[in-house]
């Protein structure tokens, strides 16, 4: 059944050990469990490796392929670097939950069937909620509950789809499909909810910035990217995804431009970047799927780097608003440098990982003659530089002198950031080494003079636009409404008005019944003369008077006659 231990179980065991061990033993597990997982990931051969009988089905617990190993590698790597970044400041339960969450993500990577996928999917939902809660504030607890509701809802939709597919096709295998009927639509929607697709993108920007400075590093890596992997595995070439992806790309840019919270800017840019990948899956060619996988890999690294850099700022200053920070480059040169490298990478500057991966997606659109898609992706690339590439480092590290003089990153956080800086620049400088791990053979040269020049023009002039339009982008202490307004406010108001209506209705009913009761009581009291204070001079009530015996006899006779009639009828 098991040729080797499933990698996800190794990390899950690590998460358990972190919870029970203390001191150096725990630190040892934090650093060694992801390493052991990483080794196990690379040992997984192609094809189905481990199976488990469950009811009438045979679960394929571990199925290997280059694509699955690629995603599992970056997830295990992120657990390792995230653990290094977090272990001195994060509580044990945050580390433990983060590792269980990462284990869920790695489990999804190797899931060969829909049931296993679903189980690990829910494991992720469960422990990522705990990571959000570790933000340890009233806002984090409320956001965590909203996050959990959204993901459990997504899980149910996914489950409905899986049940449908299993019942109607009889197969639990994960295989490419298109959204053609109810079942497949449910699966697609369930996955897209985790990818932060519209109209529920808001869950991401709502919850991630409420987590702890270390928690957001883990959160940024797993949920949305496992959704991208699931899309690559199940919905390559599903044309709906092109539109969904383009919407996400633009939504992320516009909302990030409006935002004041540093980590919320980065959260919106996750939606933006995942949009590129979703769009690529929609294009569905080998080049596009390679691009989606490569971009997911690169994105996890630079986005974690950006969240780490923002995390150090929040850890050192306790402030998370653009309006509160600024000028931090003076005392935080290391954090500023790492943040800038992350920002350049996300913008896809030549020599960074963003350039060598994102341009594959644009190339795939061009190859398929999708002119509009190509142009929108180019505009979006410029927009990424605008909202994340310059806006994040500018407002945090430069802008104005906020007077804050915090210390730079602690050594472990700096070390974690430098590892990711090296990866961002490495994938950017030596793309050939990285391309060989992609699912399909790569025939793509990112560094042609023409391409580099085009993107340099695009990016540098969007930089010019940023500085010229700076007065328009003055940060205000505001938040922006999103679709979550519908359930956080409108639904609340509707529920409140329904409640108010029902209580008004009940009050009206009780008023009427009260009135009827008191009146009838009064009438009874009057007729029976139970009211002892009543004036003796008043005429006695109907039931309190004395009646002549003759009249009583007559009524008895009438009743008996009626009875005799009724008997004979």
């Amino acid at each position: 059944m098991f040729d080797s231990l499933p990698p996800a179980l190794i990390l899950l065991a690590g998460a358990l050990l972190i919870a029970v061990l203390r001191g150096y033993w725990r630190i040892g597990v934090v650093l060694l469990a992801p390493l052991a997982t990483l080794l196990a990931v690379w040992q997984v051969p192609d094809g189905i490796v481990a199976t488990l009988p469950f009811l009438d089905y045979t679960l394929q617990i571990v199925e290997g392929s280059p694509l699955r190993r690629l995603f599992a590698t970056v997830f295990a790597g992120m657990a390792l670097v995230g653990g290094l970044y977090a272990y001195r400041t994060a509580r044990w339960y945050e580390l433990s939950a983060a590792y269980a969450y990462a284990a869920g993500a790695i489990g999804v990577c190797f899931a060969g069937d829909l049931i296993t996928l679903f189980l690990y999917w829910e494991l992720m939902a469960l422990f990522s909620t705990v990571v959000v809660w570790c933000g340890n504030s009233a806002a984090a607890r409320a956001a965590g509950i909203r996050y959990a509701i959204m993901h459990l809802l997504g899980g149910i939709i996914l489950k409905v789809g899986i049940e449908g597919v299993v019942v109607h096709t009889g197969s639990i295998d994960i295989q490419p499909m298109l959204a053609t009927n109810f079942d497949t639509w449910m699966i697609l929607i369930g996955i897209l909810i985790n990818a932060a697709a519209p109209p529920v993108s808001a869950w991401l920007a709502d919850s991630y910035p409420e987590s702890s400075p270390t928690g957001s590093v883990f959160l940024s890596a797993f949920t949305t990217k496992t959704a991208v992997l699931a899309l690559i595995l199940m919905f390559p070439g599903e044309k709906v995804l092109i539109g969904v992806g383009l919407f996400m790309v633009m939504y992320g840019i516009i909302f990030a431009l409006l935002e004041n919270d540093v980590r919320r800017i980065l959260a919106y840019s996750i939606v933006n970047q995942v949009g590129f990948m979703v769009c690529a899956v929609g294009i569905g060619t080998q080049m596009a799927l390679n691009g989606a996988a490569a971009h997911a890999f690169a994105h996890i690294i630079y986005k974690a780097l950006l969240f780490m850099s923002a995390g150090v700022v929040i850890y050192r200053t306790g402030k998370n608003k653009c309006t509160e920070v600024g000028g931090l480059f003076r005392t935080m040169p290391v954090t500023a440098f790492c943040g800038i490298i992350g920002a350049l990478a996300i913008s896809g500057f030549p020599l960074t990982s963003g350039f060598t991966t994102k341009t594959m997606i644009s190339q795939a659109a061009a190859d398929e003659s999708l002119v509009t898609v190509y142009m929108l992706l180019a505009a979006a690339s410029a927009g990424v530089f605008l909202h994340a590439g310059i806006k994040f480092p500018w407002f945090v590290f430069f802008q104005r002198d906020s007077g804050l003089r915090p210390k730079d990153a602690p050594w472990n956080m700096a070390a974690a950031m430098f590892v990711l800086v090296a990866l961002c620049l490495g994938i950017g400088a030596f793309p050939g080494l990285f391309y060989q791990f992609l699912p399909y053979p790569v025939e793509y040269t990112p560094y042609t003079a023409s391409k580099v020049l085009f993107y340099l023009q695009l990016l540098l002039f969007s930089g010019l636009a940023f500085f010229l339009l700076l007065p328009l982008m003055r940060r205000t202490e505001t938040i922006s409404l999103d679709t979550d307004w519908l359930w956080r406010v409108l639904l609340n108001r509707v529920a409140c008005s329904i409640g108010a209506f029902i209580s008004a209705l009940l009050a009206a009913i009780s008023r009427v019944t009260d009135k009827v009761l008191t009146r009838s009581k009064k009438a009874c009291a009057k007729q029976m003369n139970t009211d002892l204070d009543a004036n003796d001079d008043e005429e006695l009530g109907l039931f309190a008077r004395s009646w002549p015996i003759g009249r009583t006899a007559m009524w008895i006779a009438v009743l008996l006659t009626g009875y005799v009639f009724a008997y004979y009828l």
């Binding site: 180019a378 927009g383 002198d401 023009q457 540098l460 969007s462 636009a465 328009l472 982008m473 938040i479």
Partner: protein, 90 residues
């Protein structure tokens, strides 16, 4: 010296440095456009091989996005405690 109050500040934020940075930035911008005289950009959709197209497209799409965000902000922006009102009992 009109720069006297900035003299104690970090060299990077002194007005003189910032003027120099703008100058250098302008030179780089001009060069990236002029480089197209030497290097031809391979277009995929026709227009993208025009002279300076990348520069103009990048600049204009950013202006459009910023303006659109600004307009949308008029409708969507709320005070920071918008969701917190009446939610203290949660």
């Amino acid at each position: 010296m009109k720069d006297s109050k900035h003299r104690d500040d970090h060299w990077l934020v002194r007005p003189k440095t910032i003027r120099l940075l703008w100058l250098a930035f302008s030179v780089v911008l001009t060069l990236t456009v002029l480089a197209q005289l030497v290097i031809s950009i391979k277009g995929y959709v026709g227009v993208d091989s025009w002279f300076g197209f990348g520069a103009a497209f990048g600049f204009l799409s950013c202006v459009a996005m910023v303006l659109f965000a600004k307009l949308l902000g008029k409708v969507l922006k709320r005070r920071e405690d918008y969701y917190r009102e009446g939610a203290d009992d949660v």
